[in-house]
């Protein structure tokens, strides 16, 4: 069964450093999302992406964040200058187009900012 993959599974970085989290969506899925989940808290929406541009973004998704599809397959989330409060699990998710029947999450990247 096709699945969403994410790399790395765990990233440890120093405050102020840039990180890039990578996602490989299910092929033929058209809609892509990034979410985060701080330990012990609920899942929060960051951004959605369709047709090579951002569809919607939350208040969390400020100028420190960016997304792109650099090669038509990978979908990346960049955090330019990480803060301690960026420590969280980051999930990529993809949605089938057309009938919008299913949305699948990747396994997540645990980001730890020291």
């Amino acid at each position: 069964e096709p699945e969403v993959t994410q790399t790395p599974s765990h990233q440890v970085t120093q405050m102020g450093q840039e990180v890039i989290l990578r996602c490989v969506p299910i092929s033929n899925h058209l809609y892509f999302y990034w979410y985060r989940q701080i330990l012990g808290q609920k899942v929060e929406f960051l951004v959605s992406f369709y047709n090579n541009e951002i569809s919607e973004k939350s208040e969390i998704f400020d100028d420190q964040f960016s997304v792109e599809r650099p090669d038509g397959s990978n979908f990346t989330l960049k955090i330019r200058s990480t803060k301690l409060e960026d420590s969280a699990m980051y999930f990529c998710a993809t949605l089938t187009g057309g009938s919008y029947n299913e949305q699948f999450f990747g396994p997540g990247t645990r980001l730890t900012v020291l």
């Binding site: 809609y31 999302y33 979410y35 609920k42 899942v43 929060e44 929406f45 959605s48 992406f49 369709y50 569809s55 919607e56 939350s58 999930f91 919008y100 029947n101 299913e102 949305q103 699948f104 999450f105 990747g106 396994p107 997540g108």
Partner: protein, 110 residues
């Protein structure tokens, strides 16, 4: 602000019991309502609901959406210990924004 409210926040039952989890949402720009199961990892997709009154079923799980009253329920019959998890309700808008509820923590005791 978009809101998704789930109830109860936690529930403890015994194996074999039937449970009903509730989710209410605001109507703004609604596209779909999704249910996920989350154990100690990524959420697992259960159902996506877009039309009112049409029940979706998968084994012992079923779900239905009421777009007039703005709520959805997730039913689990003959619960098993493996059903213990956090169940998430998510509203997606036409623009592509997702709003998550706080989740219902279900504990099924043997």
């Amino acid at each position: 602000e978009d809101k998704v409210v789930q109830s109860p926040l936690s529930l403890v039952v015994h194996e074999g019991d039937t449970v009903t989890l509730n989710c209410s949402y605001e109507v703004t720009n609604f596209r779909s309502l999704l249910w996920y199961k989350q154990e100690k990892k990524a959420p697992t997709f259960l159902f996506m609901l877009t039309s009112s009154g049409i029940e979706k079923k998968s084994g012992r799980l079923s779900s239905i959406l009421d777009k007039k009253e703005l709520f959805s329920i997730l039913n689990i019959t003959a619960t098993q210990t493996g059903d213990s998890a956090v169940y998430l309700c998510v509203k997606n808008t036409n623009a592509g924004k997702s709003t998550f509820g706080d989740g219902t923590t279900l504990t099924v005791k043997p």
